[in-house]
Amino acid sequence: MKEFLEGSRAIAEAVRLCKPGVISAYPITPQTHIVEELAQMVANGELRSQFVNVESEHSAASVVLGGVAAGVRSFTATSSQGLLYMAEVIFNIAGLRLPLVLACANRAVSAPINIWNDQQDSVSLRDAGWIQLYAENNQEVVDFHIMGYRISEDKSMMLPVMVCLDGFILTHGMESVDIPEQEKVDKFLPPYNPLYKLDTAEPLTMGLLADPDYYMETRYALQETLKDALKLIPKVSQEFRGVFGRDYKDCLIEEYYIKDAQKVIVAMGSVCGTIKEVVDELRAKGKKVGLLKIISYRPFPYARVCEALKDVPQVAVLDKAVSLGAYAPLAVEIKAAFFGKKKSPKVISSFVAGLGGRDITPESVREIFRKLNQREINLEFIDLKPELLQEEYGQ
């Protein structure tokens, strides 16, 4: 049913439909409304779930680890500092091969402390072994949570899924969203049936010490499983379309006017909405531009990216994070995708924008299209304010 509601509430509705038995909550802006909505649902008896108010994000992740290890679907949400604080547990959950969905309300990381949106937090944990899906709008946020549990709990996966949504922009934005019916969700998402769990009827030992004779194979298995996820995600996306009607194609990328484009911007998250508007505007003027939206950042869909962009002469990658001292994280993936390939863009320019919540306006996007030409740009910050910079301290 279509409702006009705040993103956080939409997430709570999606989570409620997935019926998790254990929810852990620790507040951090801009995720707070999500856990508050869930708390209210539990208090009203609308959601039968053990709601555990923990004393830190590290414990929030630990509680859901325990919950799913004991065989119960679990959920938590966090952001920025919270995600970094629980980073140890994030790696642990993937390594223990436990399925989970975690909502990350993307927010800049300290220091300086900043509560507004960029993608540095989840991007910084790209090595952890989680599937990371980036949502453009609140409909995607809702749908990715539901698909997330289905993907995560698949017996070939048993891997956690992080649904990344831009903080404030999506969490606090009011949008018209279709909240699916419970029957349809039940049809699409069966109850969690663990491959292994803590059960006195069948004792198991989980989390053993693996010395050099055993460790590497667990990591290899994770890598292979994430590669398999590139096949599973499209399959689940088509199943989703069958039940709910919305088509995310392969749910790895979205191609927007790529076919004959001369210039394409690659990006993740809500900024894609803005880019689509500028693409529409420029196309109306006869300019051949397009957008490649990355949905699945991990596993990274190298083959799909190559297929989509191989005939596009000029590509700009827009990052809302930076691997300080080196590169912009999404740009380097795009470059790596084409290395050694016969057909590839002539120019792949890297732009960083929107850090700490600095607005990426349609003008910023037009600026990127303007700067994208035959001269490849290694890494440029868009909308920078040079007046705030001093070469030496104390000027």
């Binding site: 555990v52 004393e55 590290h58 414990s59 509680v63 919950g67 004991a70 198991l204 053993l208």
Partner: protein, 296 residues
Amino acid sequence: MDNSPLFKAGHTACAGCGQAIAARLVIETAGPNTIIVNNTGCLEVFSTRYPESAWNVPWIHSLFENAAAVASGVEAALIYLGKKENTNVIAQAGDGGTADIGLQALSGMLERGHDILYVCYDNEAYMNTGVQRSGLTPFNTNTSTSPIGAKSTGNIRPKKPMPEIALAHGIPYVAVASAGFIPDLQRKVKKALSIKGPKYIQIHVPCPLGWRHETDMTLEVARLAVETGLYPLIEYENGTLVSRRQIAPKPVEEYLKVQGRFKHLLNNPAEIKQIQEIADNNIRKYNLKVENQASS
């Protein structure tokens, strides 16, 4: 506790390990309807080296500081499944994993009132990483990060009062036990598991390697700690002291001299006096001294 043990032989603890004795007794007393959540430490490392596992009960290890939090999640899951009534949940860790890095998660678990028994195996240092000082290392102990030297007689701080900290959370059961007093330990575990709510048991477990004593001295050393008043065996129910093991106090020197980690104190009466004061304070505080029988 019989032919189908819940904690199997073949683990790689040091010979004479106090923690192995206590851990085995805890799970055998708790029985097969128990799920264990274990922090990183000696116990976890020596009992679960892939592909071997000593545990015949559901058992999980996550990280160093979060047994209490993971156990909270397990307990919540069991409640959701309607299985909590029949299942014990035990979170266990060493002294470092409890009093230092694990204090936050433990405090949260106690405050939220989960039905979990938390067991702290206190061997008074970070033993698994090489005998480093922890918050529960006693005053004047020689450890690798509080070593003795020309300017030091060892650890400069007293033990963090963990049982009191647990007690301050207002939980229904707090007890201190020792590997040297086995029936008492078994009784306390059984008692704890019969109570609903968060429980804390701290068990003194000598470490032959870290404390530097012979492997067959483990029980004797543990007993001396109690009999000198340095490790009072106390038991609280709902905030009231319901039992304490009374002693005919021995001088602390008897306990110190059998361990290499205190060897440096034996020529240092001033330092021994300070340790004796700690023992005397305990004896006074908990009224540990056995009353002399009045002759008729």
